[in-house]
Symmetry: C2
Subunit: 348 residues, 2 copies
DNA sequence: TTCGTGCATGACAGCGCTGTCATTATATGT
DNA sequence: ACATATAATGACAGCGCTGTCATGCACGAA
């Protein structure tokens, strides 16, 4: 007969529809205790092959689906990862999210995402609401948090990974590249290729601190060579192909005649390329263009865009791998540099 | 003195670090019962203004963060939404996810996402693992599910929204557009503009059923006019700008000389535009190109791409709004058509 | 005064699972 | 044969919250 459960369910709160399946139902069906089913589903403890099979059959037949909510509460260890990104309009963050998902894939962890739209107060609310799900870790883009956000993250005692950027001190772990160094490398590379009259076309710095850091690096490289930007245009909104196109057009209307224009990123630079094509400006001969990110679209252009490859996918993946490797926070903040590469291309 | 709690914590399982804050801690600090704090944080029931303020102060001072896991378990109503998409490499799905997030924004719900990589078995595992979080609803792209996936979703009794496509019978709710109709409209539009020699450049149909549906519609339009495709090329992998560029190149090497080429989507079409620019083929005069999706990059091209606008963002947003509007599944499957618009552009 | 009536608050049990500590059967060494 | 280790299973309480029902109290009508 087996161990008959006499722990009868104490009358349901509501007279529900078919009453969701629980571990107890499976246990009854397989004639074992709940805990045995639980252990089998989690692959812990010693279980005989016969009961394992019997229980798994029962699971299949009943169509039982684990309740991670209850499991997480009982074990105080969650399989959720909070992910905070500024936007999804920019493929860059979609790439990061891809990397995160790819890294998570074999682990059974799931990302819970939130989008801040580049707003610090939205980020603050988001972080709070994500922490309420007791995630195993929080992955967040950048270092630009409000004090409250930073305090909450610090106090949470879970792992916190700040992505993309490594030019500041992280709360726990930073994974990314130095944007200042990328700007510097860009400048030196282009100076080495003989360019002297540098123009710059960018987008809103207040929301994209990393673009600003690259600009800093670029300007520093120019200074090293006794040069300075001959002209620049800053588009007030987020980066886009259209904005890049228009901004280059106005830049070229000026009297400064740059021989190379560095863009805040590839989206903007591709717009610049389109402008040149439309105006019959021959790239590299008449004007050189340089981007940042190494997006596919830039590499598929008639002439592949000269740019810097930022390894977004890898950044997301490594962030996750680090979390899985060391699920506990470890006192001292750490930084992982995923580097970047100059992509010579044919536009500069 | 207030109601002293004598329900002393029954010795913690482990001698933990600072012991996470609970409702009880806040309750003690504010000298009220746990349930009162709970009610205040959830904005339910009548609460006097004085206690509300006192409790909220206590929350601030202690830095208490709600435990949604426990709350969800106790109330059996979750604030999570499962989201299943095939890919994030394609901006199209990022747009959908943006729409979902935007629709969720005011509600406190959070999306838990999973990426299938266009694999049905990955989708099956994902759906199971998402259901384990007892989400309020599942949003999933397309109708191509395994039988098991479909059964699980049906049995879950939560709301299930299938996105993008409305050319099949949904499990619960479908939000999207008819891709067959879009193909048909494309064909009729181009025939109306005088084109007769149609070429087609596409990508892998086995993973993208919607592209196939558009092709069907296009061919049907041609049949109506007594025409047929003069030539086509199918790239074996996922759509990409590079693939579109290469596929158009080989198509044009053939002897069929189309006067218009319809692409499976904008990514592919943009590649086609790049090929034409590189080869000095004047768009529309020498060859017309037509895409699908209405991506920004296509509209920023030297000549804006002729295409069809699919309202991805809106699809995601409406899906969420429907869920919030009617959180309970309602027997009969339903379909919401978000439509599409021909974007004339300058390439066809 | 007495009795509703509505507001504000609290006690209590239980959501479905898992950590911990038994308990029982089976194998091993001497 | 006996003690001892090991494998397999189970009982029980509790994770932190919320639904339900009860209670205390002020206030106006009768």
């Amino acid at each position: 007969m087996g161990p008959e459960k006499n722990k009868v369910r104490k009358q349901r709160r509501v007279a529900e529809t078919p009453a969701a399946l629980t571990l107890a139902d499976v246990a009854r069906a397989a004639d074992v205790s709940e805990i045995t089913v639980s252990r089998i589903l989690r692959n812990v403890g010693p279980i005989s092959e016969t009961t394992r099979r019997r229980v798994l059959d029962a699971v299949d037949q009943t169509g039982y689906v684990r309740n991670q909510i209850a499991g997480t509460l009982a074990s105080a260890t969650s399989n959720l990862i909070g992910v905070v990104i500024p936007s999804l309009s920019n493929i860059v963050f979609a790439d990061v999210l891809r990397g995160i998902d790819a890294g998570l894939e074999p682990s059974g962890f799931r990302p819970v995402v939130g989008i801040t739209d580049y707003k610090a107060d939205a980020e603050e609310k988001l972080v709070t609401s994500l922490l309420a799900w007791k995630p195993a870790a929080i992955i967040i883009v950048g270092f630009d948090h409000t004090d409250i956000t930073r305090r909450r993250l610090k106090q949470s005692r879970i792992r916190v990974v700040e992505l993309m950027d490594i030019d500041s001190e992280p709360i726990d772990l930073a994974v990314g590249m130095s944007h200042r160094a990328a700007g510097l490398a860009t400048g030196r590379h282009l100076i080495g290729r003989g360019y002297r009259r540098f123009g710059y076309v960018g987008h809103d710095w207040t929301t994209d601190r990393r673009a600003r850091l690259r600009w800093d690096g670029l300007v520093q490289a120019l200074e090293e060579a006794g040069l300075e930007l001959v002209d620049q245009r800053l588009h007030g909104g987020p980066s886009s192909t259209q904005a890049g196109r228009e901004a280059l057009a106005t830049l070229l209307q000026g009297a400064k005649h740059p021989d190379v224009v560095v863009f805040s990123n590839d989206d903007m630079a591709v717009g610049g390329v389109f402008h040149c094509i439309a105006e019959g400006i021959v790239l590299k001969r008449d004007l050189a263009l340089f981007g940042f990110n190494g997006l596919d679209v830039g590499q598929a252009l008639p002439k592949p865009l000269s740019t810097v490859r930022s390894n977004r996918f890898r950044i997301g993946k490594i962030a996750v791998e680090q979390i899985l490797l060391r699920p506990e926070r470890n006192g001292t903040p750490e930084t992982i540099n995923t580097g970047f590469e100059i992509v010579p291309g044919e536009t500069a």
